[in-house]
């Protein structure tokens, strides 16, 4: 039952977001306007990054002087305004029943502060914002949602100021904008920047149209280049490839020219073309050429593997310097030194050498040992001359890359993967698509990279065993997901054991998923749950 005399407000925030500041402003604002205010919160451990609620009730004062009895916690069906300082907290408020269609105006920032299980997932653990938007539209009387964090940041303030602005702009409290601003002024801390963020958010909230726009990154438009050789490649994409793959191919060509040269991008198109032609024969048209698309995506990533040369090249680029200066908010001309944390191992050094020499180095214990002394932890100061020159020179070795040990190994592996995609496609289209997508597990450097390659190899063997079996694609997909569940490979190993007992015991070797390095701590269900 809504009482016009009383307004109840729940603020859901994450510890450290400054929900307390917002509550203080609210109290001050309403008390100055002659209302009786009660506010309370549950700090404690929640303050350390957990979710926390501030609850405020405003009561219009009476002549009688009798004190009203106000509640100390929000109850479903009894909340007029919910302010969420982060999008998932809006979702949590809805889950807790605090947002009801008859009464509640839900004001939420659309930005995300990712929870630990979203962040620690080995692949993409990000929660889907659309689910929250959809629930909010159903559950709330009115839904005001826009990015209040960036408004705060743009104005050199914190989110409590833009939340306060959004609250003012939504016009759900019987106080004018000036009254809100006066409360900020009385607060006395960071007044100017708070007022700027407040004002920007207030304006945006009044327009109230704000909604995160979903970007569609795969534009099918093929751009035009100045360079004729590049244009020839782009023309080839246009003419020789099915339209659904164009977006991936354009990005792939862009990446590989950046990575090495036009010839390399040409190699890329040649390889995808072979898959695409087969795809067309396998009725790919009906399936939107999924195999070609995924091959185009992952082949580009695989060919642009991150070796020492690539890392050195990227780290010395002007664009990168501009980016990190922007990211640390350096003013023009301000000195920013940077220190890179590199740790080349003998393996990485051998990888960068000509194939024969690299192999010799790895196979010759005394040479390995000698080089090992040079390898190891390196702090490289790229914004100083010595450090910059070292990386810059390594970055220029790209033209010799085709002779390196790593190149030989990568091309061999890529060839095997492509031919597996092709021959699988002939028998089992959906499975071939999954084989292509399995390349997603290949990532990371050093030991992380090696672990990912072991997982990938195990997946490929499983794919071979699955060809033509019922539900093969779904089963490989499940294994692929298992490979991204825990670092120790426990889930993948379990999946392979299960597969081995049901399909072809000889062809699937669960031991190869590397249980030896199993990390039982990360096999904890809690840490796996986020994957």
């Amino acid at each position: 039952m809504s009482d016009p005399q009383r307004i109840s407000i729940a603020v859901l925030a994450i510890g450290g977001q400054g929900g307390g500041v917002l509550a203080d402003w609210l109290v001050d604002l309403a008390e100055h306007e002659g209302w009786i205010v009660q506010t309370t919160s549950v700090p404690g451990v929640a303050q350390r990054t957990g979710a926390t609620i501030y609850y405020t009730e405003l009561f219009r004062g009476e002549e009688t002087g009798r004190a009203p009895v106000l509640a100390l916690m929000p109850a479903p069906g009894d909340v007029d305004i919910v302010v969420a300082a982060e999008l998932m907290e809006a979702g949590r408020a809805i889950q807790r029943g605090l947002v009801t269609p008859e009464r509640t105006t839900l004001i939420s920032s659309s930005h995300r502060a990712y929870a630990i299980l979203e962040k620690s997932a080995m692949a993409n653990g990000m929660a889907d914002p659309e689910t929250v938007h959809a629930a909010a539209r159903v559950a709330s009387r009115r839904y005001v949602c826009f990015d209040m964090a960036s408004i705060a940041e743009d104005n050199g303030s914190v989110i409590s100021a833009s939340l306060f602005g959004a609250l003012a702009g939504a016009a759900v409290l019987p106080f004018g904008r000036e009254a809100f601003e006066a409360a900020i002024r009385r607060g006395g801390v960071g007044v100017e920047s708070s007022l700027r963020a407040f004002g920007a958010a207030c304006d945006q909230s009044q327009r109230s149209a704000g909604r995160v726009r979903r970007e569609d990154r795969q534009g099918a438009e093929i751009p035009v280049a100045r360079n004729p050789a590049v244009n020839a490649l782009l023309a080839e994409i246009r003419e020789a490839f099915p339209a659904p793959a164009h977006g991936f191919l354009v990005e792939g060509v862009r990446k590989l020219i950046d990575y090495m040269d036009i010839g390399y991008a040409h190699d890329y198109l040649r390889r995808v073309r072979s898959v695409a032609m087969l795809d067309a024969r396998c009725d790919g048209q009906r399936r939107e050429f999924r195999v070609t698309c995924e091959t185009a995506r992952y082949l580009a990533l695989r060919m642009a593997y991150e070796d020492t040369i690539r890392v050195a090249d990227l780290k010395t680029r002007a664009a990168r310097f501009d980016r990190f200066r922007r990211e640390v908010h350096a003013f023009p001309g301000q000195i920013v030194y940077v220190t890179e944390f590199l740790h080349p191992r003998v393996q990485e050094i051998a990888d960068t050498l000509p194939a024969g020499l690299g192999r010799w180095l790895l196979d010759t214990p005394w040479a390995s040992r000698a080089v090992d002394r040079l390898a190891g932890k390196r702090l490289v100061r790229t914004a100083r001359l010595r450090g910059f020159m070292a990386l810059w020179l390594i970055g220029r070795l790209g033209r010799y890359r085709r002779r390196t040990l790593r190149y030989a190994a990568e091309m061999r592996d890529i060839g095997a993967w492509l031919s597996r995609i092709e021959h699988t496609m002939l028998e089992d289209y959906d499975l071939a698509c999954e084989v292509a997508e399995c390349a997603r597990v290949l990532k990371g450097y050093g030991e992380t990279g090696e672990r990912s390659r072991r997982s990938f190899d195990a997946l490929m063997r499983a794919a071979d065993a699955l060809v033509g079996r019922p539900g093969s694609a779904a089963r490989l997909r499940a294994l692929h997901r298992a490979a991204l569940q825990d670092e120790g490979g426990c889930a993948l190993k379990a999946g392979l054991v299960e597969l081995g007992s049901s399909v072809a015991p000889a062809s699937v070797d669960p031991a190869s998923a590397d249980p030896a390095s199993a990390d039982p701590a990360s096999a904890d269900p809690a840490s796996a749950a986020g994957a």
């Binding site: 451990v45 009203p68 100390l72």
Partner: protein, 714 residues
């Protein structure tokens, strides 16, 4: 110094008669203590009463003007034992702690205090951490009140009621020679409200007077035959005196209503919640006018039989609203009604849940169920709100909205300790880790998932005692500096030395009792004008006989940390090994350092600010770095590479440049994407010149690459 400064709030303690005090519930208690003429206050910090301690610590001047002594106790047992000053002398004393954990620790002293009884009023302010957001086991302080015969006050959660109960509590204590506990739920402690102040009162009898004219009364000491007499005294004298005082001063409240055939008996602390539920059922208004009669127990122990009988007699049914379990009050009421032959039906845990917090929703459902059974005619007016909980769009949230377990703060020096431990577990396999209470307990949560048990504050060492056996692997016990000084020095370290343990204790020494709000402890490095700090843990540990102590003065050195752990676990000399891992709590450090840095920049001094950055184009989105860190500033964002689907790691602006990211990337040989940026303010002319030259050369080389890329750009 504490996390929050109360210098501003402290001035409110000076308010005189007739002035209005505005602020938090727990600050109102502080003011009420001074208005009651308290002679001394002792306590141990912990949510939700930390602010009471912090305020008093900041209120030195006012306390000394009034002649009030304030102690920051070593633990809750110390705080309770401090009340011994009120045993023989007419001095009012107050102690405070977090309950039930603190009451557990205090219970030895509390039982002795309650057995012998007191002369001056002894009030214990209990911060009840129960329900949502609580960090402790869910138990009731009520049991302690019953077992030691201490009166338990549970006032209505508004400032005037709380303040009045503090004052009445002292009087009750003196009238019945019994210590009194004032229970405040966490929301009541943090509720913002106001009350009309009275003048502060100087204690009429001082501690100095007591010292120069000492009194003793063996009748108050727990030793036969006095102890047997105490029990008789409790029942024959103190209890009746308390009943007389409580009834005589009307500490419990009756609110009349026209629906006289039913009634509600409730704990005072639940009054606002019950009243809101009645209001939502259309049976009360916002000013507390209710149609259902209420009997509010501002004193929940002891119950006043005559009041209960008077309230229940003649009604068809009465509902008891009692939060928590066991249902002590309900059992007691049944006994009272039966003995008095009153036939009123008593409802309670049959319509309300036996366990858990009585939230607004729970109370609404319970009240509705009670009325539906016993007075359905009253329910006609009550509208129901529609629920969208069953809507598929809302149901879909279940799989999406992530949990937010508490974690280490940005730049926390405890994080690298567990990073090192996690890396070491990869070498040695999993270990049994006996955890403690404190921020470091967050290690049991993702991403570290380290820690097997926690048995109480300072008991990390003690809880590993059984593992003092020959085995290929050792257990690691963890303790914070807070827990160490609370009791861990004896219960953990001393115990291990005495029992010739070969195990390892890791003491996290961040310079504060950080989890409770950053209060100083014995080993804090800060100079504290009123407390003795800078007493090193290493010295204490050596003092009780530990021979192998490694002190690491920078926990962010993951490699060094890992090495120390490895050495301690790898045997070496027999005997207990202690690692003291020192780095200042980052929350407190930032509070200390940030303003200084700002000042220095303004003054034109050369200042370097450090922070970390991740290169999104070399990050491959595996997030191995997150799994050994979990720093709030180390987060993720959509991958800028349109070909990749997995998000990249990203360091946000909250980064304080603690250095862990780099150390961890090195120690775990992760990836080359991390870099440390040093942002220079006010560089000297020579540095500026060198940088100009350097930048020019670098830009020239970069242009070469850019030209090639531009040629092919599209």
């Amino acid at each position: 110094m504490a996390e929050r400064s109360f210098r501003k709030e402290v001035q409110k303690l000076r308010l005189g008669a007739g002035e209005t005090f505005r602020g938090e519930g727990i600050l109102a208690v502080t003011k009420a203590l001074l208005q009651s003429g308290v002679g001394y206050v002792a306590g141990y910090q912990g949510a939700p009463i930390s602010h009471l301690m912090d305020v008093l610590a900041d209120a030195r001047d006012i306390l000394s003007e009034l002649g009030v002594h304030f102690e920051t106790s070593a633990n809750e047992a110390t705080a309770a034992a401090t009340l011994a000053a009120s045993v023989n002398y007419p001095i009012r004393g107050a102690a405070t702690w977090k309950s039930t954990v603190g009451t557990n620790v205090a219970s030895d002293a509390l039982a002795n205090l309650a057995s012998g009884g007191v002369t001056g009023g002894a009030l214990i302010v209990i911060g009840e951490d129960y329900g949502e957001g609580s960090s402790i086991m869910q138990e009731r302080t009520h049991a302690f009140a019953m077992k030691s015969q201490v009166w338990l006050l549970d006032p209505r959660p508004n400032l005037p009621s709380i303040v009045s109960m503090v004052e009445k509590g002292f009087e009750l204590s003196e009238a019945s020679n019994t210590p009194v506990m004032l229970e405040l739920r966490i929301r009541a402690c943090h509720v913002h409200g106001h009350f009309v102040a009275r003048d502060n009162v100087r204690p009429p009898f001082t501690l100095q007077e007591a010292l120069v004219t000492p009194r003793r009364d063996t009748g108050r000491i727990v030793l036969p035959p006095a102890s047997f007499q105490h029990e008789k005294d409790k029942i024959e004298k103190r209890w009746p005196a308390a009943v007389k005082f409580i009834a005589g001063h009307g500490l419990n409240e009756f609110f009349d209503g026209d629906a006289a055939d039913v009634g509600i008996i409730l704990q005072g602390g639940l009054y606002n919640g019950v009243l809101r539920a009645l209001e939502r059922l259309g049976l009360a208004n916002a000013f507390g006018n209710t149609r259902v009669p209420l009997y509010v127990l501002n004193v929940t122990y002891p119950l006043i039989d005559a009041e209960v009988v008077r309230f229940c007699a003649g009604r068809r049914a009465v509902l008891l609203v009692e939060e928590g379990q066991p249902d002590y009050i309900e059992q007691n009421l049944h006994a009272i009604l039966r003995k008095a032959d009153v036939h009123t039906a008593l409802s309670g845990k049959d319509v309300l849940p036996m366990a858990g917090e009585y939230t607004g929703e729970v109370l609404l459902c319970g009240l509705r169920a009670f009325l539906d059974r016993h007075a359905p005619r009253l329910l006609q007016a009550s509208p129901a709100h529609s629920s969208v909980a069953a809507h598929p769009a809302v149901q879909a949230l279940a799989g999406v909205v992530p949990q937010r377990p508490a974690g280490f703060c940005t730049g926390c020096p405890e994080r690298p300790i567990f990073t090192a431990m996690k890396l070491m577990e990869k070498e040695l396999g999993p270990l049994h880790v006996s955890a403690d209470i404190g921020c470091h307990l967050f290690s049991i949560l993702p991403p570290f998932n380290i820690g097997n048990t926690t048995m109480g504050y300072g008991l990390g060492g003690a809880a590993a005692s059984a593992f003092n056996v020959e085995a290929p692997r050792k257990a690691i016990a963890i303790m914070g500096d807070g827990g160490f000084w609370h009791n861990g020095l004896t219960s953990g370290i001393g115990n291990s030395v005495f029992n010739r343990s070969d195990g390892v204790t890791l003491i996290v020494d961040n310079g504060y009792s950080a989890a409770t709000g950053g209060q100083d402890v014995l080993s804090s490095r800060a100079a504290n004008p009123t407390r003795s700090t800078n007493n090193p843990i290493e010295q204490a540990v050596r003092g009780v006989g530990v021979k192998q102590v490694t002190t690491i003065t920078r926990t962010y050195d993951v490699e060094r940390m890992r090495q120390a752990l490895r050495e301690a676990l790898d045997g070496g000399q027999p005997g207990h090994k202690v690692i003291v891992a020192q780095s200042e709590c980052m929350l407190n450090r930032q509070r200390r350092v940030k303003p200084l840095m700002k000042q220095a920049i303004q003054k034109g001094e050369r200042v370097v600010r450090e922070r970390f950055v991740v290169d999104p184009d070399t990050c491959t989105g595996d997030h191995a770095c997150v799994r050994i860190s979990g720093c709030p500033s180390l987060t993720i964002r959509p991958n800028p590479d349109p070909l990749r689907v997995d998000p990249v790691t990203h360091v946000d602006d909250s980064c304080v440049g603690c250095g862990l990211c780099g150390e961890a990337a090195h120690a775990a040989a992760l990836c080359p994407s991390f870099m440390r940026a040093e942002i220079v303010f006010n560089p000297g002319p020579w540095e500026k010149f060198r940088n100009r030259v350097r930048t020019r050369v670098i830009r020239a080389l970069q242009r070469q690459v850019r030209r090639r890329l531009d040629r092919y750009a599209f």
